[in-house]
């Protein structure tokens, strides 16, 4: 008996090991997702779990459809925050990196301060920003900039500084100055690194927007989640989560698409090595 269960447990895994590689990434991922959702649905029904504790996927879908207008409005609001915050964070990050790379002495003074600042848990600044700027767009955008500029600055700087010294020597030998080397070599060289940073930054931006809305808002997906939790409307919480995830994913792929178009020579970097 136990031998039989052992076999049924191990048997499906062995072919899965060999099949996994030739299949496109998305097929096994989708299959696993479908199985997980089915198990989830069955567990909820079999054990009769109350909806306010954990809704079944079907209940979430129903809620998604019923509250679609509310969710769409909220998503639009959050997306605007993310977009504005991300663009400002990217500009700030690039500017900081360029200043540090170009003006080495000033950079040596600035860089430790930025690293120090990075160690402040910036999410904790949300209430202060709300206090200063009210419930509007500004505090969320500021929170996003503060959270998301860092990976951009650090990756861009790493890219600017990782030009081989012998190539710099080559440029020096023909009389090229620092600005020329920066414009012609360092900046294009840094682009793949920059995009690695931007991909982290876009993920952070979504987190920043939601946290900002938690801290104080009257619109947005974070607001919907908090409002729904006070109403014990757990399906709506999950619906909002689904929308947040789709939004985050969409933003991420826009950045990745931009990377593919702008830096086709980029080597593959692991974009998920940063943490907040």
């Amino acid at each position: 008996m136990s031998e039989a269960t052992m076999q049924t447990r191990t048997a499906p895994e062995q072919p899965a090991e060999t099949i996994r590689r030739p299949l496109p990434d998305i097929v096994p991922a989708l299959a696993l997702m479908a199985v997980s959702l089915a198990v989830w649905e069955i567990v909820i029904r079999v054990f009769d779990v109350p909806t306010f504790v954990l809704p079944a996927p079907s209940a979430v879908v129903v809620s998604l459809i019923e509250s679609r207008m509310q969710l769409l409005d909220a998503a639009r609001f959050t997306a605007a925050e993310v977009l504005i915050g991300f663009v400002l964070a990217a500009i700030t990050g690039m500017a900081v990196a360029l200043v540090i790379a170009r003006f080495e002495r000033f950079g040596r003074a600035l860089y430790p301060l930025i690293v120090l600042f990075q160690n402040v848990p910036k999410i904790a600044l949300a209430p202060i920003f709300i206090l200063w700027f009210g419930y509007d767009l500004a505090p969320k955008v500021l929170l996003i900039v503060v959270i998301a500029f860092f990976p951009v600055a650090i990756d861009m700087l790493a890219g600017l500084q990782s030009v081989e010294p012998s190539f710099v020597a080559l440029m020096n030998s023909v009389g090229a100055g620092k600005t020329k080397i920066l414009m012609r070599v360092r900046i294009p060289h840094a682009l793949p690194h920059l995009f690695a940073g931007l991909k982290v930054a876009i993920t952070f931006s979504v987190i920043g927007a939601i946290v900002g809305e938690f801290a104080g808002a009257n619109a947005g997906l974070g607001y919907v989640i908090q409002f729904a939790s006070t109403q014990l409307d757990t399906p709506l919480i999950f619906s909002a989560l689904v929308v947040v995830s789709v939004l985050g994913l969409a933003f991420y792929y826009v950045v990745e698409l931009a990377e593919k178009l702008l830096v086709p020579w980029a080597p593959k970097y692991d974009a998920h090595r940063h943490s907040i």
Partner: protein
């Protein structure tokens, strides 16, 4: 522009055979590095002359300062004492006049530019007066010279290590320098590619008549390519012997089996062993 920069298309395989003038002269060159508050003598009392149009090698154990000496000649490092002249100019001035071309162990091509753009890049940087089409034409010519005809549009990621190094050589040659300074240019390549590249470099030297200084730690390479080998020793680094290589020209793969090759090889090996023993 400097009239001396014009290509010297030497038809003879032994350029400047009689009474060669001096292209690079080092007199009493010393380089100290300050490391952990202590003065380290990297080079001491280096006297060396490189005849115009010759191909000479610097060979020695690693850490003997041969790359440092090359960097002094390139004007990338200021000597602590003594002086170096390249074509009777200070190295920095010579570099700005595009008298010096540099090739390093790593090809360091720009990954976002194809072979011909990489070959033209330094020329365009060095001389804003050169039009892009002129630079490209010059780069195409140099790629042809290094045997990369047909690979002009390839990206660096599509090129083998040897081909990338050929592009790096073409990039240096595009400046039309009188002097080519090469720091272990084939050090990162496999043995067969190295021999191919040696032959390629020899062809370039014979066709252009450039003065070439080659830093290497390969005895074969030094003997096969050079008219003269400067053997360096450590502690502090200096030239322990300058060995003329009496291997007949033109050289080809048969040269490796010539008696003169074996003699020079043996002599170099014993000098290098000696320099290592003296250090310990």
């Amino acid at each position: 522009m400097n009239p001396a920069v014009a290509v010297m298309h030497a038809s003879s395989t032994e350029p400047q055979a009689a009474a060669p003038s001096v292209e690079i002269a080092a007199t009493g060159v010393a380089v100290d590095f300050i490391h952990d508050g202590r003065r380290q003598h990297v080079l001491k009392d280096i006297d060396m002359q490189v005849p115009r149009g010759s191909l000479v090698s610097l060979i020695g154990p690693s850490g003997c300062g041969k790359s440092t000496l090359l960097k002094v000649m390139a004007g990338l490092i200021q000597p602590t004492a003594g002086s170096v002249t390249v074509d009777d100019l200070a190295p920095q001035d010579a570099a700005k006049k595009r008298i010096i071309g540099l090739v390093f162990q790593d090809a360091t091509l720009l990954p976002w530019k194809n072979a011909i753009e990489n070959a033209a890049f330094l020329l365009l940087t060095a001389d804003p007066g050169v039009s892009k089409s002129d630079a490209t034409a010059r780069a195409a010519e140099m790629l042809k010279l290094v045997g990369l005809e047909g690979a002009e549009r390839k990206m660096p990621s599509q090129l083998s290590g040897g081909m990338r190094q050929r592009v790096a050589i073409a990039r240096a040659l595009a400046l039309d320098p009188q002097v080519l300074l090469m720091d272990e240019p084939f050090g990162a390549l496999d043995a067969i590619t190295r021999e191919e590249m040696s032959q390629c470099l020899l062809d370039i030297w014979e066709r252009t008549g450039k003065t070439i200084v080659l830093v290497t730690h390969s005895i074969d390479e030094a003997v096969f390519l050079s008219g003269e080998v400067h053997v360096m020793g450590t502690g502090p680094a200096r030239i322990i012997e300058t060995l003329p290589i009496n291997l007949p020209q033109p050289r080809n793969e048969d040269s490796y089996s010539e008696p003169a090759f074996k003699i020079a090889e043996k002599r170099l090996r014993s000098l290098l062993v000696e320099s290592r023993r003296r250090r310990s």
